[in-house]
């Protein structure tokens, strides 16, 4: 290669690098707008794995949340972490109610006093088939959640198929439906 061509190539490298970075930024920005790119997202290593071992501290009377039964379910269920002190959880309650007619929802009250969780559900309606309490947040850590609300879609046999670390909105419910149809 002639040296002048080589030099020209070499001196285009900064521009090429900047152009690639710029293209990346553009894709990120459009992803941010459309919701496809989220720099805060933490993907859970639990995806497509069996549900983790965990132990619930307190069981409210009546609706017993049993981790062993969760592992043996024969239809898909949605597991939802929530707390009475969490405002986004309040926002997703309406969607959870609607969803509860189509799929069983199991709820875990994260770092919440049982009576507060109870009151919260009485006030805002209870979408949960079963309810458990995670007083100290240790169950949350076993499931790798970083806050509330978070939801997991669990398939028969206890496989985790889908994870959503935000309040459930239209787009998330759409994803759940399409996953349910596939199974």
């Amino acid at each position: 290669m002639k040296s002048i061509t080589r030099r020209r190539l070499l001196w285009s490298v900064p521009f090429a690098t900047a152009a690639v970075a710029g293209g990346g930024f553009w894709a990120m920005l459009s992803g941010l707008k459309s919701g496809k790119f989220d720099p805060h997202e933490i993907n859970t290593p639990l995806l497509n794995r069996p549900i983790p071992e965990f132990h619930l501290d307190v069981q409210p009377p009546g609706m017993v949340f049993n981790p062993i039964i969760l592992r043996q379910i024969n239809k898909p269920i949605l597991l939802n972490f929530f707390a009475s002190w969490c405002i986004p959880c309040l926002l997703e309650m309406e969607n959870l109610q609607k969803l509860s007619s189509q799929i069983d929802i199991w709820g875990i009250a994260y770092k919440d006093k049982p009576e507060n969780a109870e009151n919260f559900l009485q006030r805002n309606g209870n979408p949960y088939r079963y309810l458990g309490n995670d007083l100290k947040g240790s169950v949350g850590i076993e499931w790798g959640i970083s806050g509330v609300p978070e939801s997991f879609l669990i398939m028969p046999g206890g496989m985790i198929r889908w994870h959503y670390p935000n309040p459930l909105g239209e787009a998330a419910i759409h994803q759940i439906h399409s996953l349910l149809r596939k199974s």
């Binding site: 933490i42 859970t44 947040g137 076993e142």
Partner: protein, 152 residues
């Protein structure tokens, strides 16, 4: 294997500042050496709800819980590696402030070497002398420049 050994050696050399945000004395392990170890492990774990802070530096609730878990595991006699694995199994590689060396992070870890080689090449290329046409300075400009740098 060799590379890994060299890398571990370099890593072993890095500063380990023992700063802490432990918010109360009852969080700490009674054994001084164990507490130091827990701090070191904690400083490599990202506080998930904060930005770029380790769990040792953060006052977030979750960071506090994770600090406690790290200390429980240290007290139970687990190795650093085991504790790290436990965390990664739950939160993925996101929790590691120092990402592992794998296919995905090849460029990241290779960057220091690549940068040294490439910037060296780039500059070397510039030092090599070559003739090239340039508009010569006219007399007035030459005189002016001579004046400007006359202090040399």
């Amino acid at each position: 294997m060799r590379l890994k050994m060299v890398l571990t050696m370099i890593m072993g050399l890095t500063f380990s500042f023992s700063a802490m945000a432990v918010s109360s004395p009852d969080e700490m392990l009674p054994d001084h050496h164990q507490e130091k170890r827990a701090e070191l492990i904690g400083s490599k774990l990202r506080c998930l709800v904060c930005q770029n802070e380790s769990i040792e530096e953060s006052n977030a609730e979750l960071a506090k819980d994770l600090r406690k878990i790290v200390r429980q595991h240290v007290a139970a006699g687990e190795s650093d590696h085991q504790i790290m694995e436990w965390m990664v199994a739950r939160y993925g590689n996101f929790i590691r402030l120092k990402p592992p060396f794998n296919k995905l992070t090849l460029l990241l870890w290779g960057m220091p070497f690549l940068a040294l080689i490439f910037s060296g090449m780039f500059i070397w290329n510039l030092i090599i002398r070559r003739p090239s046409p340039q508009t010569p300075l006219d007399e007035k400009e030459k005189h002016r420049i001579a004046e400007l740098i006359k202090d040399e």
